[in-house]
Amino acid sequence: MKALVRMVQRHGTLSMLCAAGVLLAVPFLIRGNDYLLRIAINILLYSVLATSLNMINGYSGQFNIGQAGFYCIGAYTAAILATRYGVGFWLALPASGLIAALSSVLLGIPTARLRGIFLAICTLGFSEIVRLTILNWIEFTRGPMGIPGIPFPTFFGYEISSNFGFYFLILTIAAVTLFVCHRVLNSRIGRAWIAIREDELAAKSMGIPTTRYKIYNLAFGTFWAGAAGCFYAYLSSYVSADSFTLDEGFAILCMVLVGGPGSLIGPLVGAFFLVVLPEMFRFLAEYRLVIFGLAILVTMHVRPQGIAGGGVFAAIAPDSEEPAGKGAAS
């Protein structure tokens, strides 16, 4: 394991190419097997969701546990746009992200001054309010009946209707998510978020308007959850408020905590483990959250910074800033 980490650190670009190769090859290897394809799709979908939450919890230190609410808003935005207004997938995707981000701003304005557990409770409450509103606003959302009949997405005239196609769709979304997050984190905006996480007062003294940046961070993170919601709506062609309970929010949170908050790789590792583990213990299906709880306990005990947290993969998380030759020269 240590050797692997060192190898990855030394050959960042090469490792990325290898990972890309594997991710592109996987669907061809399991093409006939819809069960395995679905698992692969879920890993990528939850990678996006966990990454979106990690942008908030891991980088600006705002403790949000209601990410399912924003995921839900994205899914319903897409479902309504697609079934009622005939909007296509590629327009619904950014629209879902933007509506989720906008709703996070509405939540963020009154709550940005809250910290820790108080903010956590507000986000939790928000997530439930979203779900209950959808359940009860029957004229708009059809309430408990959900919204069926979301058409398949198309790509330059081709209809994406197989798991094989959806795999590449979510792989693209995940790649874009990671790319954009990586770039934003390695800019003055990302540095401002991390500074707020480390010491909000000192960040303020450096001239960062921390309240605005915290809302900004919330909006940026929830955008990707909204986009994931859009993908989910098209994938299942049906949305219902049942899919977005607090359990779902906790599951996403577990992935971030187990994988390693504050690292770009962490949530991907967390998503992988926490999608695969319940599949391996299918007979315990009802105890999914118990498995997650155990995973958190074990992680906190063995590696409190998360499996891939604490700079294990630092060289591929933020820009590896130390040029290779320079360290040797000085």
Partner: protein, 257 residues
Amino acid sequence: MSDVILETRALSKHFGGLKAVDSVDMSVREGTIHGIIGPNGAGKTTFFNLLTGLIEVTRGAVLFGGRDITGIPPERVAGIGMSRTFQNIKLFRFMTVLDNVKVGFHTRTKTGLLGAVVRNAAFRADETFVAEQGLELLDFVGLRKQAYNLAANLSYGTQRRLEIARALATDPKVLLLDEPAAGMNPSEKSEVMELIRKISSLGRTIVVIEHDMKLIMNLCDVITVLNQGLKICEGTPAEVRNDPDVISAYLGHARGA
């Protein structure tokens, strides 16, 4: 005589019945090194907190360059040209030394979200500027070699120097230092003294709180003495040293002057 750049008028802060800062008038002239001394609990840090908007002013006014800035939000202080360090070090611990300094450049750069994603010319110019100037600042405080270490892993004295570099990154006209030599050994102390002189010689005004009398007497042009929130004396080091009020304030607190 140079102009006054920072001035307080009857500045006061009451915590309930405690007058932590009590009607303090102080004028800092541009380009000077201005010391603030006083026994523990005299109100020195509270005074800095009032200057930088971290706590609400009870009464009185703060003027910066002749402009009333009383009650300014803390995030706007860096932008007008004032920056500080903290007595209880407040670094971004799990950021690298260089990134700590880069955060200090926040108000001097402009990149938005889109620029950061596409890495346009403006973004690249900003990042080059921040990286070059940041490394130069680390050189200036003698931390270049540790640029890529985590701030949390630095020694105590080194952390204080990093805080100074981070404050300098905002390009302040006035630099406020809250006990920059606390917890340092004699050789580190003389290094910090050199550093403060160097910063001053580049034309920045410095206000420094310090308990180390040798350092303060050697360094400062003017010294203000606070005791129990009140300004009890102000003058050159020689004047302050021989002031009977100062001597009794310090003897009363069993801290030798």
